[in-house]
Symmetry: C2
Subunit: 634 residues, 2 copies
C-alpha cells in the first residue's frame, strides 16, 4: 500500500482523499508519532488521541487564514505532520529541530508558542474580538483538553467567550485524563455523561438532518438545531456551557473522521460561540499506551517489541530524590502534606501517594487554587509541601504572594524543572523563580546541590515559620558530594564551602555546584586554584560568604541556572553594595536577559548559556586575564 502521509504537504492535500484514505492516513500518523517519540521522547498518548480530530479540523478549515489555537500545545504533533513538517519530524525536540509545542517560528499554521494550559480560549476570544474590530471574519477555533478547560484562566475565557456576537468554536477534547486523571467536581460531573453514549444513534440523526453541502447563516442554524436535538435525544448536554452562553454540541465520537468532518462543516459557519464536546481515547491505537496513559503522557525514548514496551531508564533524577526525601520527612512529621497540580509523575509525588495516600492531594491543572488550598491547610495546622514546576508556579504567583507570603505561612514550595529543561524548550524553562520570589518579604529561597541536600533543604524548611522555596533542575543528581551522613545540615543563610583555592572564587547555586567543582578539577590541571562555595541560599544570602569572596582578592564568579536579571548573582551584587564592597571583579553567569533558549539537550543549553563546567572554567580563565587556553594545556 502506498504511504499517504509523505504526500500531505499542506492540509489542502487532505481534501483529495476519501474517507477510507483519511482513515489510512490516521493509521500512518499514529505509526509515525510512535516511531519518532520512541526515538526522541516527547508527548505520546495525548497526540495518539488527537489524530482524527486534527485531520477533520484541517479538512474543513483553512488555517492559513482561519485561526487555530492550541491549549497547552503538547497535543499538536498531528497538526505538525499535516502542515509540512512530516519530513523533519525526526528532529522533534532536538536542537535546531521541530519543537514539541506549537511555534510560530516554525510554521504559519502555529499562531502562539505555548506550553502552559488553559489559555487558548481567552486568546481565541481576543483574536475573535480583534477580528470584529478589524472587520475580519475568519473562523477562530480553540482546541482544549478536559483538564485544561476547568483551569481558572480557561473558565475566565469561557465566561468572556459566551457573550461574543460572532463565530467561535471551542473543541473540547475529552479523554477524561488531562495529564493525570482529571480532578474536581466538574470532572465527576463530566464523567456521568461518559457512560456509553449511543454513537450510532447520533450518527444516524446527523446524517439524516445534515445538508450535504456546506451551509451558512440561517441554514447553518437550522442544521444545528437538528444536530442538537439528535444529541439531546441520546445523552445529556452539559448545561454549564449553555449557561455561559455557548451552543453546546455533543458529546460525539472524536475518532470518527467522516462524522467529525460533517460536524465541522456545519459548525464552521455558525455565527455564535459553539462548544463541541468530543470523546477521545488518550493513547488510542497503542494498547500499551491506552493501558497506561499517564506513563505514556510524556515518556523518555522507548522501544516497542510486540506487546513489550521498554522505556529508557534515565538514572537517578532530582525528581526521584525529592520524592523519597518528601516521603522521609512525612514519615517523621505527621503534619507534612504533599500536593501537586496535575503532575504526580512529573514531580515524583505519585510515589508519595502510594506510601501515604491520605496525606496527598492532586489539585489538577489549577496551580492557583492548589497554592491557596495549601495556604488554608497550613493555617489549619498542617505543613504542606507543594511540588510545582518552576515555570508553572508562575501561574500561582499572586497566591504565593497573598495567601502565603503576606500571611507568613510556612508553606514549602518544591520547584522541579528549575532552570533549563531540555527538550520542552522555552515554554517550560524555569528561569524566573528566584527573581519573582525574592521580593516577597520573609520568603526563604534555597537550592540543593545533590540528593542529600534535598533532604536537608526539606528538613530546614519544615523548621521555619516562614514560607520557603526549594529549586532543583530536570536533571540527574550528581555523585554525592559528601560521604553518607557527613553532609552538614542546612542553617538559614549559611553557605557551605566545597573546595578551597586561592586564585578565584565561584559562588554556585544549587545544581550548579557540580559543574563548578568539575571546572575546578579542570583548572587545577592548568595550575589554577579555584575556591568553590555552595551558596545554598539565594535568600537570605550568606553575607559572610559574599564579603569573604569579594575581599579576599581574585575574581568572583556567580553561577546560576536562572535569568541574570534579578537572580542569585543579583542578590550577591545587592549584598556587596550594601556592604560597601566593589563588585568590579565579579562575573555573573546565568541565562541571558534578552532572548529565550530553544529546545535541545539540557547539556547543550547549559553550554549555550555559559553555565556548564567548561564555560565556568573559561569564565575563570578570562576573569584571571589569563591566556591559558584549554586547548594548550588540556
Amino acid at each position: 500500500m502506498n504511504k499517504l502521509l509523505p504526500r500531505i504537504e499542506t492540509p489542502a492535500d487532505l481534501r483529495g482523499l476519501s474517507v477510507p484514505q483519511l482513515e489510512q492516513l490516521a493509521q500512518e500518523i499514529r505509526e509515525r508519532i510512535i516511531q519518532v517519540v520512541g526515538n526522541n521522547g516527547g508527548h505520546l498518548a495525548s497526540n495518539l488521541g488527537m489524530v482524527e480530530l486534527t485531520i477533520a479540523m484541517h479538512y474543513v478549515f483553512d488555517f492559513r487564514h482561519d485561526r487555530l489555537l492550541w491549549d497547552v500545545g503538547h497535543q499538536a504533533y498531528v497538526h505538525k505532520l499535516l502542515t509540512g513538517r512530516n519530513a523533519r519530524f525526526e528532529t522533534l525536540r532536538k536542537a535546531g529541530g521541530i519543537s514539541g509545542f506549537p511555534n510560530p517560528s516554525e510554521s504559519e499554521y502555529d499562531l502562539f508558542h505555548v506550553g502552559h494550559a488553559g489559555t487558548a480560549i481567552a486568546t481565541a476570544v481576543g483574536m475573535a474580538r480583534g477580528g470584529q474590530m478589524l472587520a475580519d471574519n475568519r473562523a477562530v477555533v480553540a482546541l482544549v483538553g478536559d483538564a485544561s478547560i476547568f483551569n481558572g484562566v480557561a473558565f475566565e475565557g469561557l465566561n468572556q467567550a459566551g457573550v461574543l456576537k460572532r463565530q467561535l468554536l471551542v473543541v473540547l477534547n475529552d479523554n477524561s485524563m488531562g495529564i493525570a486523571p482529571t480532578q474536581g467536581g466538574m470532572a465527576e460531573h463530566l464523567a456521568k455523561f461518559r457512560v456509553s453514549p449511543v454513537y450510532e444513534e447520533i450518527k444516524k440523526r446527523v446524517k439524516k438532518y445534515l445538508p450535504q453541502v456546506p451551509v451558512i447563516g440561517k441554514a447553518a442554524f437550522d442544521a444545528l438545531d437538528h444536530l442538537k436535538e439528535g444529541f439531546k435525544a441520546t445523552v445529556s448536554p452539559h448545561q454549564i456551557f449553555e449557561q455561559l452562553g455557548f451552543i453546546y454540541v455533543g458529546p460525539t465520537d472524536g475518532h470518527d473522521i467522516e462524522h467529525l468532518i460533517e460536524l465541522f462543516r456545519v459548525l464552521k459557519d455558525v455565527n455564535h460561540p459553539v462548544l463541541l464536546h468530543a470523546h477521545t481515547q488518550k493513547g488510542r491505537g497503542a494498547e500499551w499506551a491506552l493501558a497506561e496513559p499517564t506513563k505514556f503522557h510524556s515518556p523518555k525514548p522507548f522501544k516497542v517489541e510486540g506487546c513489550r514496551v521498554e522505556v529508557q531508564s534515565g538514572g537517578r533524577s532530582f525528581t526521584s530524590a525529592f520524592a523519597d526525601a518528601a516521603i522521609a520527612v512525612a514519615q517523621s512529621d505527621s503534619r507534612v502534606f504533599a500536593m501537586t497540580a496535575a503532575m504526580p509523575d512529573g514531580t515524583g509525588l505519585s510515589k508519595f501517594e502510594k506510601v501515604l495516600p491520605e496525606r496527598y492531594l492532586d489539585g489538577g491543572i489549577a496551580e492557583s487554587a492548589t497554592v491557596d488550598i495549601a495556604a488554608g491547610m497550613c493555617k489549619a495546622g498542617l505543613r504542606p509541601v507543594v511540588a510545582i514546576y518552576s515555570t508553572f508556579l508562575q501561574r500561582a504567583f499572586d497566591q504565593v504572594f497573598q495567601e502565603v507570603a503576606l500571611q507568613q505561612l510556612p508553606v514549602v514550595f518544591c520547584l522541579d524543572r528549575a532552570g533549563l529543561v531540555g527538550g520542552d524548550g522555552a515554554v517550560h524553562h524555569g528561569f524566573l523563580d528566584i527573581a519573582y520570589l525574592r521580593g516577597m518579604p520573609g520568603m526563604v529561597l534555597m537550592a540543593p546541590m545533590d540528593e542529600a541536600e534535598i533532604g536537608a533543604c526539606l528538613r530546614l524548611a519544615l523548621k521555619l515559620d516562614v514560607p520557603s522555596a526549594i529549586r532543583y533542575p530536570r536533571d540527574n543528581v550528581p555523585e554525592p558530594m559528601f560521604a553518607e551522613g557527613a553532609l552538614p545540615e542546612f542553617e538559614l543563610g549559611r553557605s557551605l564551602r566545597l573546595r578551597d583555592g586561592d586564585d578565584a572564587t565561584v559562588l554556585a547555586y544549587g545544581a550548579m555546584c557540580a559543574h563548578a567543582l568539575a571546572a575546578a578539577e579542570t583548572l587545577a590541571g592548568e595550575g589554577i586554584s579555584l575556591r568553590v562555595v555552595n551558596a545554598r541560599f539565594a535568600k537570605p544570602i550568606d553575607r559572610d560568604m559574599v564579603s569573604e569572596a569579594i575581599t579576599r582578592g581574585g575574581p568572583v564568579i556567580t553561577v546560576e541556572d536562572h535569568s541574570l536579571a534579578g537572580g542569585f548573582g543579583s542578590a550577591v551584587l545587592e549584598c556587596a553594595q550594601e556592604l560597601g564592597l566593589s563588585t568590579s571583579h565579579v562575573v555573573r553567569l546565568g541565562l541571558p536577559v534578552d532572548r529565550f533558549i530553544a529546545h535541545g539537550p539540557r547539556a547543550m543549553q547549559l553550554a549555550e548559556c555559559g553555565i556548564d563546567a567548561a564555560s565556568i572554567a573559561k569564565a575563570v580563565r578570562n576573569a584571571l586575564g589569563s591566556h591559558v587556553e584549554a586547548g594548550v594545556h588540556g
Copy 2:
C-alpha cells in the same frame, strides 16, 4: 433610643438581641460606616450591602472557633464593627489604625490578610481539608461576591470544593455589581434569575419547614430538602453549582436578618458543600450610594448634606493623566484598544469608554483572561493598552510571560498603583512589578515622572515591536517639569538629565524624580550640588547613564518606589558590574526586602521607606560623609 452598637463587644452579644433590635443595629452600623468612610475614605457601597448577612453569620456561627474567610475582604467593615473594633473604627485606613481589609494582626476573627479577589473558596477548601486531616470539624464559611466567584481561582476552588466530604458553606453575596457591573456570560446567566424572586413565598415555606431549634445530621438534610423545594417552586436554582457538587440554596433576600439566621442555622450543620446565594444591594441604606454604586465603591472622603453628597476632589492624579493620554493616542492611532480588569474607574478608563466605547473592554475580575484576550487582539493586529494595577497584574504573571513576552507581542501594560498605595496598605502595594517583569526577554519597562511623560511613554510603547510596561503611582502628578511641548520624547533605553550638579548623582525612576528634585533644592540650600537623572527605563537600562554616574565621582543614589530586591537599583548594579565598574559608592533607596509596609498616608509610607525628598536628601548627606544636618542649615 439607646445605641446598640457600642454594646456589641463580641459577636456573642448579638445573641441577646431581638430581631427588631438586630434591625436597629443594622441601621446603626450603616450610619457608622457612612460616618467613618466619609471622613477617611474607603470601601463604602459593598459594606452597606453586607450588613444583614454579616450580622446573621455572626449570630449563628462562632468565628473564634469556626472559620470565616473573606474574598477580597474590602467588604469586611461590618465584621470588624461586630468583633470588637467599633471603638477604634475612626482610625480606619489611618497609620496605626484599623486596616481596610481583614488582618490577623488586628483580631483573632480575621484569618487571612487579603485584598485580591477570588481566593477565599480555595483557602476555605484548604482549611476544611486541613480540619479533616486533624480530626477537627469546625465549620468553614467563605464569603464571596458575584464578580469574584467567576474569577478563575474561585472557579478552581469551587471545582475542588464540590468533592469535599464535609461541611463547607460558600455564601455568594450577589449584588450584580462586583466593583463595576459584573462581566461575562455567567453574569448574564445570573441576571436571568434576578427578576423579582418572590421572597415572601420563599419565606413562608422556610418558616413552615424549618425546625425551630438547631438541627444536625439527618434532620439537617431533611430540613434542607424542604428548603430547596421551597426555592425551586419560585425561582430556578443555578445548575452550575450543583454540577460542581454543591447543594445550591437560593436565591434569597440578603437583607432579611430573621430569614438569614434561620437559613444559617440549618446550613451550619449540613455535612456537605453548600452554596447559599443571597441577593443584596450594593449601597443599601444610602440612596446616593445605591444610585451610583461604582462611584461609591471606594470613594475618597465625602460629606453628606441632606440629599447632596460631596466627594473630596483630589487634584490631578496619574490615573486621570493616563486616561487622557490613552484617549489621545487612541484618537491618533486606530489600532489602540483599551482594556481593564474590573477597574474602569480605578484605572481612569471609564473616561476612555465614554469617548471610544467600541474600543474598550472590561474583562471583569479576570486579570489572566484579560491579558490573554489582549494577546489575541494584538496578534489579530490591534495594539491593546491594558491598564491593571501593579499588584493585580501579579495575577496574570504567567499570561504576561507566555501569551505576551514569549510571543514578543507589543501589548502595552499600564501599571497604575505601582509603588506604595496609602490607605489600602500591604495587600495593594505594587512593589514587585519591576522584579517580576524584568527577566522576561524583550520586555521594556519604563516610568513617567509627570503627566507629560505618560503620553511620551505611551507614544514610544506604541512604536515598539515588543511588549512594554509603564508604571505610575496612586498619587497626584507633580508640577510639569518642562514647559508645554518642551519635553524630549522617550527614546528606547535613554535617560534624561533633569538637573546638573557635582557632588552626587541621583538616578530616579518615574515618580521619584519629583522627590529627587525637591531633595536637590533642599541640598542646594546647604551648598550641596546634586545631579538628578530621570532614568526613564528600568529595562533596557541606560548604560551611558550608569557608566557616567559611577565614573564621574561622588556618591550615586538610586531611588525607586519598589522593592530593593531585583528592582531598578539592582538593574543599575547589574549594569555596572557588566561594565566592570565598582558599585561601592552606590546607595540604593527603595522598599525594604523583609517586611510589608502597613496602611497609612502614602507620604508617610514614602518617608518610612526612605524615598521621599527628605530621605533622599539625608541619604545624599550620609553618602557624602557630610555632617551637614538639615537642622543646622535649613
